[in-house]
């Protein structure tokens, strides 16, 4: 029983990270109908910004909660700006062309960011400084939860609540919803759609960066290609929850995290090797697309004729 609870905690931890990243995919898709393939790389950028901030600001020497807070917020701000820059310089100029053009641009941006980082920093993994004094607390039996896991849960729940508040309780959020409903009508209503799109990218990127820094506390290894697979799985999470749907992204993220962990934890009993962990996410994607293309919480979008 405590093994099961432990696997549940493990799965929810990585699920929370997927959820944070999936939010960015889903928000951008919601307003632009664009799958931002560079989003996984923003997650990586966030982790690296945190890495350099920790060293530059002198927090790398020992655990410090203040340092962690500053590094986390700093990397969210900088990654947010990077996200805005990507939108401004790569996506906005091609937005007037077909959706396929933007999609291909997104793939290009993703490769560009990855290879820039590999060229500048090398592909070798780096060790992220540990800003949290690691400690485990026993829940019951053998099931333990570590400080970094508690951190991941707390921060991601806070951020999700904050996002929910922005979307439903602020003017910007109202404008975002309007843009996602219909971009052209929103423009006619006097909404500065370019600014709203920019803000959406900034929000999504900041969430991904938070995911990057939080993961790095849990698993100190970061490298320039860390965003590829994690990004893809977060994308699957967004589709699973219903792309464009914010609570759906969170639900999808947690489900993918759990599915992956249970394959590793119990797959061997039914002859599924642990190396199938990555395949599971994509098998889920195929099933969702076959049986419920709109995702779990998504609504059917009617194509206008």
């Amino acid at each position: 029983m405590d093994t099961f609870v432990q696997q549940l905690i493990n799965g929810l931890t990585i699920g929370a990270i997927y959820a944070l990243i999936a939010l960015g995919y889903t928000m951008v898709y919601g307003i632009l109908r664009l799958i931002n393939f560079a989003h996984g790389d923003i997650y990586m950028v966030g982790a690296f910004v945190g890495y350099f901030l920790a060293f530059q600001l002198g927090f790398a020497t020992g655990p410090s909660l203040l340092g962690l807070g500053i590094v986390l917020i700093g990397s969210m701000v900088i990654a947010g700006l990077v996200g805005m820059a990507v939108e401004r310089f790569a996506y906005r100029p091609v937005r007037k062309y077909s959706r396929m053009t933007t999609l291909i641009t997104a793939i290009g941006v993703s490769l560009l960011i990855e290879n820039l980082f590999v060229a500048r920093l090398g592909a070798a993994p780096r060790a992220f400084p540990q800003l949290l004094r690691e400690q485990s607390y026993t829940l019951f039996g053998n099931a333990a939860i570590s400080k970094s896991q508690i951190l991941i849960f707390t921060v991601s729940i806070l951020l999700m609540l904050l996002l929910q508040w922005i979307i439903f309780k602020t003017r910007v959020g109202t404008a975002m919803r309007a843009v996602s409903f219909n971009l052209n009508s929103a423009k006619l209503m006097g909404i500065n759609t370019d600014a709203i799109i920019s803000i959406t990218f900034a929000l999504g990127s900041a969430l991904a960066a938070a995911g990057g820094v939080l993961t790095a506390q849990y698993n100190p290894q970061i490298d320039p290609l860390m965003g590829i697979l994690t990004g893809l799985k977060a994308f699957v999470a967004a589709v699973l929850g219903g792309i464009g749907n914010v609570p759906g992204a969170v639900l999808g993220g947690l489900m993918i995290g759990l599915a992956e962990t249970f394959v590793v934890g119990y797959g061997q009993n039914i002859g599924l090797p642990t190396t199938f962990r990555d395949a599971v996410a994509f098998a889920i994607l195929i099933l969702v697309l076959l049986f419920r293309p709109t995702g779990l919480l998504g609504t059917t979008v009617q194509e206008k004729v």
């Binding site: 592909a123 070798a124 485990s136 570590s146």
Partner: protein, 393 residues
């Protein structure tokens, strides 16, 4: 259509020119001027600590040989190539070293998977290859031009099994292996065999793949079985994280591993979670023998870091090659091959090196305990009856 035709012609001409170049045949380098030796390793990829250390050791050895007058008056020049730790890239750069740079011998790689990919190229071109530290048995089975100056995994796996069963008195062991790595799979197999023979039981085998980020699923399964030790025969990048996550899960059983752990970055990733773990290795920097201390000091002066075992093995590989070059008096592939194969009782930093009929070196291994950023020497385990006959064959 016409353009495609022209493009095809250009490609055909290019391929043809490459094919011609190949025919020139490597390994018959000129008999004057510097002797060119190829080095390939992971200098920028996931295991770049390995490639850098080995390169440092190799270059230091070459400089020492050159300072002492070179090989019959000819200097050794090392050309390095980066394979990024990828097997397919390893094969490409070795082909380049042989075909284009006409190296007379190749030194590399560390990871068995990469050596296995590159070795057939050297074998085909009749250019001797010495791997400093690939321990998987299959490496030298590629052909008679492939050598190594380190012990092999059947022995290394046995060393840890013996240490676990005899010294740590472990009854149950769990194994966590890197599923796609020949090195890790080999060690797993040999550890399990030896540990079972000594009366122990492997209660769980869990796998991961290089680049995984979360190991808690596997570790939780292992924890539920409560083993006395956990054998993790992987590479440092993953092992550091595994140690950290095991600590997060409050796992108290000590982790055991092999020479793949040996890199400074292991400590950066794992930190204090590594305390109390044990690893088998090729040599110990704490060894008081004058030869080892001289090497350690020279290396520290030159590179400002403590040499890991990979640096020592890179150094030994180059020295063995230098010795063979001197004895053969030729850079001709087959002659050089015979000279390397005839290496006997060569005093290396990592032990006395004799190349046996399988082109492996038979050497003892040391067990080190990891404690606060240090490797504390525990004991030396010598190859016993099982490995010894191979030397006599």
């Amino acid at each position: 259509m016409k353009r495609i035709g022209i493009a095809l012609l250009v490609i055909a001409a290019f391929v043809f020119s490459l094919a011609c170049e190949r025919k020139g045949g490597a390994g018959n380098g000129t008999e004057t001027g510097p002797i060119i030796v190829g080095y390939y390793g992971d200098l920028t990829g996931r295991t770049s600590n390995f490639g850098q250390s080995t390169k440092n050791g190799t270059e230091m050895a070459a400089d020492e040989i050159n300072k002492a007058g070179g090989i019959n008056g000819r200097m050794i020049k090392i050309l390095s190539e980066d394979d990024e730790g990828r097997p397919e890239k390893a094969a490409t750069v070795v082909t380049k070293l042989i075909d284009q740079d006409k190296v007379i011998a190749v030194i590399g790689e560390v990871a068995s998977g990469n050596t296995l990919a590159a070795a057939p190229k050297a074998q085909k071109a009749n250019v001797p290859m010495i791997s400093p530290s690939s321990t998987n048995p299959a490496v030298t089975q590629v052909g008679d031009y492939i050598f190594r100056v380190c012990f092999i995994d059947p022995f290394q796996g046995e060393v840890m099994a013996k240490f676990a069963a005899n010294t740590l008195k472990a009854k149950n062991a769990a194994i966590m292996l890197d599923f796609n790595s020949p090195y890790s799979r080999g060690l797993t197999e040999f550890f399990e065999k030896a540990f079972t023979k000594l009366g122990g039981k492997v209660v769980s085998k869990q796998s991961y793949t290089q680049g995984d980020r979360d190991y808690k699923g596997q570790l939780t399964s292992i924890r539920s079985l409560n083993p006395d030790v956990i054998y993790v025969p992987g590479y440092y990048g993953e092992v550091g994280v595994i140690a950290k996550q095991a600590k997060q899960l409050d796992i108290k059983a000590p982790m055991l591993g092999g020479d793949g752990w040996d890199a400074p970055q292991l400590w950066e990733l794992g930190g204090e979670a590594l305390n109390g773990a044990y690893m088998s290795n090729h040599y110990s920097v704490e060894d008081p023998s004058p030869a080892i201390q001289k090497f350690v000091n020279d290396y520290k002066t030159r590179y400002n870091i403590v040499p890991d075992a990979l640096a020592a093995l890179g150094y030994d590989a180059m020295k063995v090659l230098g010795d063979a070059l001197k004895r053969s008096g030729s850079t001709n592939g087959p002659k050089l091959r015979d000279a390397i194969a005839g290496t006997k009782d060569f005093p290396g930093v990592t032990g006395v090196i004799t190349i046996n009929a399988e082109r492996n070196a038979i050497k003892p291994a040391v067990v080190l305990k990891l404690q606060d950023n240090k490797y504390v020497y525990q004991e030396t385990i010598k190859p016993d009856t099982e490995a010894a006959p191979a030397g006599g064959k």
